[in-house]
Symmetry: none
DNA sequence: AGAGTATAGGCGAAAGAAAAGCGAACGTTC
DNA sequence: GAACGTTCGCTTTTCTTTCGCCTATACTCT
């Protein structure tokens, strides 16, 4: 059985909390996180989640929450789909390499990685050679760092801005490069950057 | 079943202790480490951990603790030893949190992580809030990005330069900050930065 | 259409259980 | 006998559970 939106929020929070810290949150902590004022509310949510089989609990034990492993065999590897700004749509890569990422960087959505080419985001402190971890999405919120495809021709790493006139502005973060504005139809979002990995010890 | 926060702290301590020394700590040692005054408290924790299946014990045998490895399949985790530039020597942190890193970032040496505070390395594109992965070392090569302890008082993130006069120069990467030069004896290298992790999706 | 009813989401307060701690005494093992 | 581990009663703190009451929304039965 599927959770309500609210229940999903809470379930996600519990899940994240467990793999981030190694233990489940207390009811009070969940309360605080969602800005609720009564523990009774959270308790009810947990009860409902358990009734739907989305959560296992042990009565009267503190922090005794377990998320039944829907996401059990977590691969800590994701595909490395080439280089951004290399002029190829993401889907087009057929035999991707893979790259390891921190286990807790896996989110709910599909994630992939791209190696950054060039300095177009240098002022956001993303360097040439860095790897960006991207969550596949087709929409973006204002200010997101995205992989965008313009006219299905070139994947680029930019800041996403939706303008008042309905068009889309893609901003680099480099003084010497200018933002570009496109009709919304010409821009396809491929994903949003959720993290950056940089290694110093493998640079020959 | 998940541990409580306290139980996880103790479990982590036991695990690290076994890793480092080859044998488990005594109850008294755990007591001392957590500044507790009664061994009964620790004993209770160990009992509870065993009840949750997170620890195997042999009754009445000293230091007979075992952490079931089933629970740790491939957790590529390293200790997160606080914040650099926070004025505390690395060794002094007693109850480190841990953080996940990519599986292939483990090298031959011991590695740990630090959260970066401040913008002293901003021109090297290391931002406030980033996590640096550090390989523990006591020496550095010219140009390495290092965690250095000056007068055993403050851990800082700098570029390491050894000067012709035998002294050591620690260079920030921030226009508004100046390099500092010290007698070699005053500077203790704690490790060299091997990578940077940055997340955008967990900044709530 | 309106009445009834079920479910989700929420509040606050109070009750009660578990976790975490203490000190001291008691057992085991080597 | 020394060093450890174990048990007991007791306190405080943290967490969970329950109760009554409220508001919505959606679904069903006249």
């Amino acid at each position: 059985m599927n959770p309500t939106p609210r229940q999903k929020q809470i379930l996600d929070f519990v899940t994240r909390s467990i793999d981030r810290r190694g233990f489940a949150p207390s009811i009070q902590e969940i309360c605080d996180h969602f800005d609720l004022s009564s523990t009774a509310t959270v308790h009810k949510h947990l009860k409902n989640l358990a009734a739907r089989g989305l959560l296992n609990r042990e009565s009267h034990r503190s922090r005794a929450l377990e998320v039944p492993s829907a996401h059990a065999p977590e691969p800590v590897e994701i595909p490395l789909l080439g280089r951004v700004a290399a002029g190829v749509p993401i889907e087009a890569i057929s035999n991707p390499d893979t790259i390891s990422i921190p286990a807790d960087w896996l989110g709910r959505g599909e994630r992939f990685a791209l190696r950054v080419r060039g300095d177009s985001m240098i002022d956001a402190h993303i360097e040439d050679g860095d790897v960006v971890v991207v969550e596949r999405r087709e929409t973006a919120r204002d200010g997101d760092t995205v992989i965008a495809l313009v006219d299905d021709a070139e994947a680029t790493l930019k800041i996403f801005r939706s303008q008042a006139d309905g068009r889309v502005r893609l901003e680099p973060r480099n003084e010497s490069l200018k933002p570009m504005v496109f009709e919304a139809g010409r821009v396809r979002i491929q994903g949003a950057v959720v993290g950056v990995l940089r290694r110093y010890d493998r640079r020959s």
